[in-house]
Amino acid sequence: MANKRKEFSKIYDRCINKIYRFIFLKVNSEEIAQDLCSETFLKGWESYKNNPNIENPSAFLYRIARNLTTDYYREKGRTNFVSPEIVPIVDPKPGIEEKVVFNSDLDQVKLVLADLKEDYQNVIIWHYLDDLPIPKVAKMLDKSEGATRVTLHRALKSIKNEINRREVKEG
C-alpha cells in the first residue's frame, strides 16, 4: 500500500502540470480547472489502488480528464464539443475586461483554443505543448498517424481562421 502511494505520488508530480494545463485550456477558468483536475487525480488514484499495473499512467489520466471535461460541458448544456466546427462567440460585444484580454495575442490564442473542437484541442495540446510525437498522439486519439497529421493541420488552420475572423470583427 505504501509503495502504491509512493508510486502514485510520483505520477502525480510528473503529470499534475500537464493535466491541469490540458483541462484549463479547455475550460478557460482556474476554478473549474482546479476542480476537474483534482477529481481526475482522485479517480486516477482510486483506480490505481486497485490496479497499479497501468501501462501508461499519463494517457490514463488524460482519458479521465477528457471524460470529466466532457461531462462538465454536458451538465452545463454546452454543446461545443459535439459541434463539428467552431462555435461562434455568443456575445458580439465583449466587455472592457474581455477587450483587454483580447489585446494580448497570447490570450487570444488561448481563448480560440478553448472554443476549438475537442479533437483539435487534444491534438494541439499533446503535440505542441506536451511535445508528444505524432505516433503517440495518434495512439491516444485512437487514430492512424496519417489521420492525426490531417487533424493537426486542420486544427492549426481552424485556429488561424478564427483569429482572423475575430480580428476582422474587432477592427
Binding site: A2, R21, L129
Partner: protein, 285 residues
C-alpha cells in the same frame, strides 16, 4: 495580418507556461494521498513511519552515528563507577589505536593524569562509593604508563621526549601528594615503579650526555664511573643524587638552598654551560 503556422505554433508553445498554483498542487496531493493515511491504525502508521523514514539506510546510519557521538561526548564527563564510564574507556582505547609508538609513553602518562584528575574530583566532592574504583583506575593507568615508559630507550629515543616524560612523572608525583593531602590513601607501589623507570631513563640520558663531553677532571670521571656502577646495580635515584651533587651545583655563588628538583629540571640545557664554566673556573673542591 496573416499569421503563419510557425507564428501560431510559437504562440501555442508559450501556453506551456500555464501552470497550476503551487500551494494548490500540494494541497490536492495531500488531500488525495493523505486522506487515506488517517484511516490507518496506529500500528500501521508506525510501520509506515519506519518503512518510510528509518528503513532508509542513510537515515538509519545517520541516527546511529548521532546517537553514538552523543553517547561518547556525554561519557567524557563520567567518573569511575558511573554507568557511562566504560564507554569513556572504550573511547580512550579507540584513540590509543591511532597513537604512534613514539608517542605512546606520553599518551599513557596523559591518561594517568586524567585518572588522577578524576580521582581528585571524586575526592573533592566526597563521592565515597566511587573512590575505590577511581583509585584502582588510577593505579592501573600509572603502571600502564610505567610499562610504556620502560620501552623507551635512553640512547635511541628523542632526548626531548624523555625529558618531557621525566618532568611529567615529577608533576604527577606532585599531584599525587596533593590528592593525598585530601585524605585519599593511594598505594605508592605503582608510582614508585613509574618513578623508577623515569629515573633510569633520566640517568641513562645524563650518562650518555656526559660521555660525549671531553673536558673532564679526574674527579668528575670518577663520579661518572660511580654513577655507572650505581646504574648497573639499579640504584638510579642514588646516581641522580650523585649527579646533582657534583655537576649540578649552582655555578655562581648563589645560595645552595635551591630546591633539588628545580635544579634537576635545568639539567638539559644548562648542563653544557655549567660544566664548561666549572671546569674552566677550576673546581673548588
Amino acid at each position: 495580418m496573416k499569421m503563419t503556422d510557425r507564428d501560431l505554433i510559437k504562440k501555442l508553445q508559450i501556453l506551456k507556461d500555464i501552470k497550476p498554483r503551487k500551494d494548490w498542487v500540494v494541497l490536492i496531493k495531500t488531500q488525495i494521498l493523505g486522506e487515506e493515511r488517517e484511516q490507518f491504525s496506529l500500528i500501521e502508521s508506525l510501520r509506515l513511519f519506519f518503512q518510510f523514514k528509518l528503513a532508509k539506510p542513510a537515515f538509519a546510519s545517520l541516527i546511529a552515528v548521532f546517537l553514538l557521538f552523543g553517547l561518547f561526548a556525554f561519557a567524557q564527563n563520567s567518573l569511575p563507577g558511573d554507568f557511562l564510564y566504560p564507554i569513556k574507556k572504550i573511547a580512550e582505547r579507540g584513540q590509543a589505536v591511532f597513537v604512534s609508538k613514539i608517542d605512546k609513553p606520553q599518551a599513557s602518562l596523559n591518561l594517568a593524569n586524567k585518572r588522577l584528575e578524576e580521582l581528585t574530583k571524586i575526592a573533592e566532592t566526597n563521592q565515597v562509593k566511587k573512590l575505590a574504583p577511581a583509585i584502582n583506575e588510577f593505579q592501573a593507568s600509572v603502571s600502564e604508563a610505567a610499562k610504556n615508559l620502560s620501552r623507551m630507550e635512553a640512547t635511541s629515543s628523542d632526548p626531548a621526549a624523555i625529558k618531557k616524560m621525566v618532568e611529567g612523572t615529577k608533576e604527577l608525583g606532585g599531584k599525587i601528594q596533593e590528592v593525598k593531602s585530601l585524605g585519599v590513601v593511594i598505594g605508592e607501589e605503582e608510582f614508585d615503579e613509574l618513578q623508577g623507570v623515569s629515573d633510569k631513563l633520566e640517568v641513562e640520558l645524563l650518562i650518555s650526555d656526559l660521555e660525549e663531553r671531553t673536558l673532564w677532571t679526574e674527579e668528575q670521571k670518577e663520579i661518572l664511573n660511580q654513577m655507572k656502577e650505581l646504574v648497573e646495580e639499579g640504584k638510579y635515584s642514588e646516581a641522580l643524587v650523585m649527579f646533582n651533587a657534583e655537576f649540578n651545583k649552582p655555578a655562581s655563588p648563589e645560595p645552595m638552598e635551591e630546591p633539588i628538583d628545580e635544579s634537576e629540571e635545568q639539567i638539559e640545557e644548562p648542563i653544557e654551560k655549567e660544566l664548561i664554566e666549572e671546569v674552566t673556573e677550576e673546581p673548588t673542591e
